[in-house]
Amino acid sequence: MSAADSNTNYINHTKGIMSWLLTVDHKRIGLMYMIVVLSAFAAGGFFAVAIRLELFAPEMQIFPAAPTEGASWTYNKAFTLHGAIMVFLFIIPSIPAILGNFCLPIMLGTKDVAFPRLNLASWYIYMIGAAICLYAIFFGNSVDTGWTFYTPYSTSSSSSVTMMTFGVFVLGFSSILTGMNFVVTVHKMRAPGMGWFEMPLFVWGIYATALIQILATPVLAITLLLLIMETTFGIGIFDPANGGDPVLFQHFFWFYSHPAVYIMILPGMAVMSELIAVHSHRTIFGYKLIAYSSVAIAFLGFLVWGHHMFVSGQSEFISLLFSFITFLIGVPTAIKLFNWMTTMYLGQISWNTPMLYALCFMVTFTIGGLTGVFLGALGMDIPLHDTYFVVAHFHYVMMGGTVIAFLGGLHHWWPKIFGKMYSEFWGKIGFVFIFLGFNMTFFSQFILGQQGMPRRYADYAGFEKTQLFETYHQFSTVGSLILAVGFIIILIYLVHSLIAGKKAPANPWGGLSMEWATSSPPPAHNFLEDPVCKHGPYDYDKVRPEDI
């Protein structure tokens, strides 16, 4: 199967807006997700900048001290919307729905996912969920409970909690259906000759993610449904005023939302395996271990939800158990990191933009992961709980992990998706801004948290250490602005590449998995002839990239 030079591809083979809105092509659906999910990212980023500007100095800066007539925007709403939008509308669908939709079927050598119409339905369900959330934000009274909707905040808040949770409930179905589609595709749609261990590791990571999406998201759905019942009818499950138990809500919520953390990070690790192997031009070290460790993380991820509740009043014995299992998660994670490092050793590393993001991931994610181990320790967690240390930790994991991997993956597959090369020079400039901005923003927050700055405070005047807090907050705010400039640079040169970029070759980086064997962008049915898997995705010792 050679890369065919053809002017018709999946982007231009049919025209008109309806040919997109009614498409069942996984590649077009991936692009449709890209547009809406990245718009959500921009909205979430807007709130992030608003939060950072508020914290530039103690006392209230840009938000009113209390909700007043006409000025209903409060700091609580800003951080709630930042969290809810970033979690439910951006990170969860980011890598699986955009890159997974685009790459997974091509990597497996098939024409489409197992259920193409269901795939389109997932996109529409996402859009409906997003529309309900937007309605709650702009026409309702927004939401100010934090993205976790803890009772009794959520049952006593005057904001539009019911509408917002219903939107999130709908979004969950989109996630479940995408996960189902991917699991069936991986099981039943692999090209002839492709066994489980000839699949690219990206597919393994997305597969493990899909398992969590299927097993955890229904629990979120019932939790939110019961919360809606509690706020509407007062059924007495979560609200102590009606005889309910607020800690039960936390158990229900984190039973989904901790595995959801792995819905967010496993796809990032999936992208990493591709970036490291392809740009080091070397057979990946410990293929099976990386593959199994994804599944191990997915499994262990279900057993640690209680580490969010060390100070919520659960029993000490249970806390000990949760703490111990939390440490265990470090093992498969470290297996991945060491295998990536070993892959780079003696490899021929190309310092392309995607590889820079891969290196950044290894640094920032390690910091995020190790501080997670600190927080998983019972004694350490109690002073650090609800401080900026926790904020810094999960931003190092979510942003330093998932978002960095997403950016790496986006640069890695951009030539394949659009058939255009972006400017490598500007790619590196953008990376420098992201790397510096990210670390300035969030490393300072580790120190803030360790010094005792609580999270979710808009006004930090009157503390003993207010002056110290102010210094670090200002450092962090400046960092966040550098980060924002970095994203704008990336947006500009990527859009510019679509208009004036060089035409991309079929295999710009020298990859061996199947997506590099078809043209850039691929034809409507991915391959001109049905592919047969003849070699592993990382057999650099046996196959030359020119020969695939």
Binding site: P116, I176, V184, I214, G243
Partner: protein, 222 residues
């Protein structure tokens, strides 16, 4: 436009991205089982709700379950088990290319589902008439006078209405889906090689039935 290489599509219902009917059927089956798994987890939250309160407050359950009519619940159990049998027979009939028999069995299944809902309607309206409502709107004075020992009686009826309500919603979805299957069967869309939608409908209906088989004893009998 790139040429598709499966020009030898056997069956008219084989979608473009599959190699053969068997692969398509296997995909549908695996997908459906995964969906049923999500349904079990979805109801699982409600079963948690039930068991946690049952352990914390057993008296509530003993007292309140007397308020439910086990005869009507039992009737509904028999109706649903029978409908599970008819939907299984519908699948068997289409596997043997007996389209008319399949259509009749599907129609009986829908009829049973309606019987279930009608019985449920009578149960619900009796409860609502007595003020035996979920949550804070509970005001059944008769119950409160008879069972002064029960704290928070509204919680049992919250559980009852949430569980049977969500189950009833699934019954309604089943009616819509099976009616669609009936329509397609009458239009000759299915045969012994292509009957995956009917089999999926059957699997779904069995699950709806199975959930009721747990709900009935948990709510009405113990």
């Amino acid at each position: 436009m790139s040429a598709t290489t499966h020009d030898s599509h056997g069956h008219p219902r084989l979608a473009h991205h599959f190699f053969e009917m068997e692969q398509q059927h296997e995909c549908a089956k695996l997908g459906m089982w995964l969906f049923l798994l999500t349904e079990i987890l979805f109801f699982g939250g409600l079963f948690c709700f039930y068991f946690i309160w049952r352990i914390m407050d057993p008296e509530l359950f003993v007292g309140a379950s007397e308020m439910l009519n086990w005869k009507l619940g039992g009737l509904n159990t028999i109706v649903l088990i029978f409908s599970s049998f008819t939907v299984a027979m519908a699948i068997r009939s289409i596997q043997q290319n007996k389209r008319n028999a399949c259509a009749i069995y599907l129609a009986i299944t829908i009829a049973c589902a309606f019987v279930f809902l009608v019985v449920k309607y009578f149960e619900y309206s009796a409860k609502i008439g007595h003020g035996t409502l979920p949550g804070t709107s509970f005001h059944d004075l008769h119950f409160l006078a008879e069972h002064p020992e029960v704290k928070n009686p509204h919680i049992f009826f919250s559980i009852y209405f949430c569980m049977t309500g969500l189950h009833g919603f699934h019954v309604i979805c089943g009616i819509v889906y099976i009616a669609w299957l009936l329509y397609l069967t009458l239009k000759n869309r299915f045969d012994s090689e292509y009957y995956a939608p009917i089999e999926m409908g059957g699997l779904y209906w069995h699950l709806v039935d199975l959930i009721w088989i747990y709900l009935f004893p948990l709510l009405y009998l113990i």
